[in-house]
Point group: C2
Chain length 446, copies 2
Amino acid sequence: MGTRLLVIGGDAGGMSAASQARRLQPDLGIVALERGRWTSYSACGIPYVVGGQVPGVDDLVVRSPREFREHYRIDARTGHEAVALDLGARTVEVVDHGHGRTYQLGFDLLHLATGARPVRPDLPGADRAHVHGVQTLEDAAHLLEHVQADGPGRVVVVGGGYIGLEMAEAFARRGCSSVTVVEQAREVMGTIDPDMGALVAEAMRRAGIDVRTGVAVTGFPPGGVATADGGLAADVVVLGLGVAPDSALGAGAGLAVGARRALVVNARQQTSADGVWAAGDCCQSFHRVSRSAVHVPLGTHANKQGRVAGVNIGGGYATFPGVVGTAATRICRTEVARTGLSSAEATAAGLAFDAATVSGTTRAGYYPGADRITVKMLAERGTRRLLGAQLVGGEGSAKRIDVLATALAAGMTVDDVVGLDLAYAPPLSTVWDPVQAAARRLAGSG
Amino acid sequence: MGTRLLVIGGDAGGMSAASQARRLQPDLGIVALERGRWTSYSACGIPYVVGGQVPGVDDLVVRSPREFREHYRIDARTGHEAVALDLGARTVEVVDHGHGRTYQLGFDLLHLATGARPVRPDLPGADRAHVHGVQTLEDAAHLLEHVQADGPGRVVVVGGGYIGLEMAEAFARRGCSSVTVVEQAREVMGTIDPDMGALVAEAMRRAGIDVRTGVAVTGFPPGGVATADGGLAADVVVLGLGVAPDSALGAGAGLAVGARRALVVNARQQTSADGVWAAGDCCQSFHRVSRSAVHVPLGTHANKQGRVAGVNIGGGYATFPGVVGTAATRICRTEVARTGLSSAEATAAGLAFDAATVSGTTRAGYYPGADRITVKMLAERGTRRLLGAQLVGGEGSAKRIDVLATALAAGMTVDDVVGLDLAYAPPLSTVWDPVQAAARRLAGSG
């Protein structure tokens, strides 16, 4: 019998690794376990299924178990959950939910991609049936049935981060009778500065969504949400409080954990144990700007880390250089993006910085369809090193953050950004791209 | 009397410098001469005035002479042309076209921003009245009067570069009875590889424009264009053969000229003579990828170089880091962009390279409005250093080139590009951005 790679977790971080390992090692035996019904899907697409822009949950699946079996010779088993791991014996205990049985499976090489779980608040009633997390396609299917069966009702979203706001918009698109977002902090979008988050909240309010900030949730009574400011009736409550790494299987087997109990990995995605790799939401990442270990659960990182792990498992050499903190979304026709450190993060890292905010347009001001864009940029005092940036604006705004994500990876100063040779044509940009206008302001000649 | 700065040329390269110098030196006397009727305008917007998306020529003016006088205390004189320069005597001879007089003007510091002129082919009839260049707002006003007075007619565009194709689309939008593009090379858009240029030609043909490649123009008989393949009737002929630096004034006074007879400048935009600066289409630039002097007449460079010259003139310190060859446009709903070296340019520079072309979508494939994007990327053999890239695709394609322009400025390899932390959300991108998919292909794991 040949060498067997066992992959635990059938989404991006797992299946990218399995595919790369197969590409490099045609003779490797590969088994992939996925506790859910689907493999290799876009969880980020869930709000658009709920919102109706995408017809169904199946549209989010990139590759089915059958495709993995037939085209990659990967034994992908859905409904199979690894519940215990013995690294010494090189075995896992697996529950086959479809057949109600448990079995042992041996491996030579192990790759963990166990993902993350939605954070559930430690509050009365948080486990009631009307309180939903949004992380897996099962969650999406469940919410979708609810919306379709019961018709538009009253929705309360708890937490004003990316997923919370995306879900609020989705329910508003479905014609729910009311959609309310409750956020404990002073502004939504805690990953960007409050002055920028306020622009997002305004866009949501213009779209008819009731956004309440500075309001603490105290519990989930039947048919509602209790807050410090009084009760809210709700047919559906959606939790948008972020996710925590689902590292229990690896940690229980003795693997080292770090930031937020995510699995510790090196640049090749190797865990603290020989022959054991990890990728995606279950593990931590190196932040190239703050130069610290962080937990950033995003599909882009899961895909890249999975690829790196798979290349290394297959006998090649690849490293994951780390993250710079890029994220983006579109909420109520308003694009939002960030990269690097926010003001709060820079302060927490002990960095002194200058910040500048500029407003511009996405196309030449005289060109039809030119829309507003606001750019906030942070640079380290003294060195003038770019530390981070945030954008809020119309169509064509968000992907401009990529220039600054690239500049952060290269360690550029704001002067370097001013000198970049960025594309200009009146239908596409202003002659000074808005991101360069912000850099000019920080460079002192804006 | 205080120090006098004389600026020759009232568009971006001149007035950016004048504004920066004023900011730093409140007491400097500043005179700016512009031979045309307008200052500080977007020549890149001309096709959109002709096409009707922008109401009139005046909409393209960023700042009028009056604004420069009142808000910047810059003595901006339109219709005044400098016709001779004496660097020893520190004087220019100026023709005031409005009053039909000539006068002498002295200066202490000189900044040249004399721009470029459309290339006129050395062919019979090239000076006939139906043959038009497109460079200044005067040209635009002239073409616009023609279209409005005579109504839609037959238009032939000679030359399939950016401005030629933009003008062809503009006339097609105006409802001209026929629009034909004649290009001598085997494909349009000579600044990108022919396989990518073909995608642009296809888009134009789908929009009803007759694109003829590999056809040499032999002359301009009355009411038409003569080609090696026979004659074409034309009420209007537009020349899109590029521009040449208008460096005669400076070169005549003894300033050093280089690539295509453009003025030689150092990183601070100083010419070969003390106290004489230059910026914009009249001067050459350093190419950061080919590491050679080039002439790249684009408004973005004129603005940046003008700013750098103005800071230095004002006693500050700034340098222009050079260009990486970025350019973009939108033709018939198809976005086109390029940066770095094309295959032909890389070969001419003696560089061995690998190229990869990938097709992807501008948004997640399942998201409404996802459009096709094709990315071609070149990397140096051995070092894997990114050399250049080209994109053709739907809405949201072109500005993705900025990531690669930034990567070129940083000297990144294709592996570095694969590892970039770019923004992802289903309405904005695929999880692997198309530019990273191309880099993956070159990195050997696509």
